[in-house]
Amino acid sequence: MDLRFTDEELAFRAEVREFFRTALPASIREKMILGHHASKEDLVAWTRILNQRGWAVPHWPKEWGGTDWTPVQQYIFRDELQLAHAPELLAFGVNMVGPVIYTFGNDEQKRHFLPRIANLDDWWCQGFSEPGSGSDLASLKTTARRDGDHYIVNGQKTWTTLAQHADWIFCLARTDMAAKKQEGISFLLIDMKSPGITVRPIQTIDGGHEVNEVFLDDVRVPVENLVGQENKGWDYAKFLLGNERIGIARVGISKARLNRIRELASLERIGDVPLIETPRFREKLAAVEIELKALEMTQLRVVAAESRRERGKPDPASSILKIKGSEIQQATTELLLDVVGPYAMPYVPEEEGRNEPTDGPDWASAAAPTYFNWRKMSIYGGSNEIQKNIIAKAILGF
């Protein structure tokens, strides 16, 4: 057992770090440091920079544009990406539907979709949750009835992140109405330009527009857009949700935020004393840093175990990463709010091309909205309570 990085791993880290330092456009980096959102154009530009380097989808199989990096290298890459304040790539493509397509899709689907995902030519969104089917996803009611060489899809999806930009949506829909819950569900790829699709925005408490409702009314989907076998969609969905948990600890993002909080807490003063030098604050900060260090080690243990696991079979211990990762990310938003103080108050709409100065320091305006918005982290990706059910069942054997 040797928990230190090898010289090769350290050299790899240096290489990746240097690339991010020089390749990430400064305008995007600044936006991210201030806690604002990357625009669609930012994300497309950044994905293509990475894709040109061959690093947009490093975790994919090599024949589809991936790398043969070890799990540790994959981890280092993700960590550095996040530490560099680079935007994360659109997960719905590279982490969710991409792996489903290269694992369960047919050759035509692989050839067509995978390169377009890696280059962000297609913007994907996720059609899983429904108004009546959140944690109990398998109760979903959207139907897909076969009509010749088409499915006719009817139903309503919700919490559809960034559907307003989407070219495609991957959907779970019921193809066998008689089968019991988990059976009879199929995994469909649907063109967002299809007639019958309506996207309605949902405004979240931070004032942002990130999620949507998607209505599907008699949407005609060619049968060649079925992934894998009909009625086997639940298996693919479980595979996808398992993959989703791997990167969800977002240790690098929390590290970057804690570094930033430390920096800002040395600028803010209480009387003559920088906030960072007050024992109460710095101990609060240190407590979160310790939790994060523990999570990082836990993540590395899961990563190391990953190389010994069957490909595509998620480790139930990754539920720890989701639970602790979300709690720590949320704790960083609380800390930043503590640092900001009174200038947490002004509501500043985040608009492209906005050039009037903000009231208060420029880094203050996103503190409260991020705190509000990030309450989502313990809810999405399988709520933390669902993760506890998974641990209870799969690890503790209840």
Binding site: L3, E283, A286, E289, E291, A294, R301, A304, I320
Partner: protein, 382 residues
């Protein structure tokens, strides 16, 4: 990076786990605790035979040249079975101070005797006023010709009543809380002027209050630099905390296992209480705390060997915070989920709870080390 145990480490793990499984069930442990010294000399001999007492020492001193990972393996197994023998006091602390700070002659004299199970040590450092501050030493070491004369009082010396030799820290120069001017002396437990009063501890072990009055030791008893032994003491204390972290992980792991087993068998309202989601989630939270603690115990083991004292100290302090907090949560919940039986002397879980509680107070509790991590500028590298 590699989390796999080597072949030798796996063998070590198997053999120590087999030993405690065979000879350290809860009923046997009760018997060992009633022996005069509060532990079993037979088991101590068995550890020597198995080579466990030789792990950290160099081959030339009868050792195996093992590192913190080997120590972690042993301590985790000991934690699970609530092993009472003075492994920490003798091998980690006593042996560590001699190994890291002693002269060649001192090492040759003492380390093979430790490895062979023939000699017990205790580290007498804490004082009434020092709490957890390692630099706070008022016991005096006055130079008198070629020898030193020690005067002072040492508190809560682990296994101080059974040790053959006591390693005593004492001030050769400077004021009470100066970092410089602390020396370390090897004192025969039977030396004239040394008095010890042994007592049982909350976690079923033994400790002693030690008074030194005009205790005279020769120059050959000085371990390391008589005016600057604090770095040595800090280093070995860091190693002891890494070892304790592993022990605590073993104890927490056992508490979780006992709790989950209990929930699956205890019936109320016509069903096993483990079918209730509130209890499943609570044990899941115990599991998460345990795994976070395990991660930090590994981190501490990795960093305990680090040559940079500031980085090493910060990492070990962080682990001690995690261990303290996780231990409190896992312990309290283990008791709660067991109900009444959890607070009885006859059942193991309460003893595990008491041990992790006392581990938190050893060498500084979670609050103490949190303040240290915070003062040191935190853990996340910029």
């Amino acid at each position: 990076m590699d989390f796999d145990l080597s072949e030798e480490q796996r063998l070590l793990k198997d053999s120590v786990e087999r030993l405690v499984a065979d000879r350290y069930d809860f009923e046997s442990r009760k018997r060992y605790g009633q022996e005069p010294e509060g532990f079993s000399r037979d088991l101590w001999a068995a550890y020597a035979e198995l080579g466990l007492l030789a792990i950290p020492f160099a081959e030339e001193h009868g050792g195996f040249g093992g590192g913190p990972v080997e120590t972690m393996i042993v301590m985790e197994a000991f934690g699970r079975s609530l092993v009472l023998e003075p492994y920490l006091a003798t091998v980690i602390l006593g042996g560590g101070l001699v190994r890291r700070g002693g002269s060649e002659a001192q090492k040759a004299e003492h380390l093979p005797a430790i490895a062979g199970g023939e000699r017990l040590f205790a580290f007498a450092h804490t004082e009434r006023q020092s709490r957890f501050d390692l630099h706070d030493v008022s016991t005096a070491a006055r130079r008198d010709g070629e020898s030193y004369v020690l005067d002072g009082h040492k508190s809560v010396v682990l296994h101080g009543d059974s040790a053959d030799h006591i390693l005593v820290s004492a001030r050769t120069a400077g004021a009470r809380r100066d970092r410089g001017g602390i020396g370390l002396f090897m004192v025969d437990a039977k030396a004239p002027g040394l008095q010890r009063r042994g007592y049982p501890t909350q976690d079923g072990r033994r400790a002693a209050e030690i008074t030194l009055e005009n205790v005279r030791v020769g120059a050959e008893s000085v371990i390391g630099d008589p005016e600057n032994a604090l770095p040595l003491i800090e280093r070995v204390t860091d190693e002891a905390m890494a070892a304790l972290s592993a022990e605590a992980v073993g104890a927490m792991d056992e508490m979780l296992k006992l709790t989950v087993d209990y929930l699956k068998t205890r019936k109320q309202f016509g069903t096993t209480i483990g079918s209730f989601q509130v209890l499943q989630h609570r044990s899941t939270e115990m599991f998460i705390e345990l795994e976070q603690a395990r991660s930090m115990a590994m981190f501490a083991a990795m960093m305990a060997a680090d040559e940079n004292p500031a980085e090493r100290a910060k990492a070990v302090a962080a682990a001690k915070v995690q261990i303290g907090r996780s231990g409190r949560f896992v312990g309290q919940q283990a008791i709660q989920l067991h109900g009444g039986v959890g607070v009885t002397m006859e059942y193991k879980v309460g003893h595990l709870f008491k041990r992790v509680t006392m581990i938190d107070t050893l060498f500084g509790d979670a609050d103490h080390h949190l303040a240290r991590v915070a003062e040191a500028g935190g853990l996340v590298a910029a």
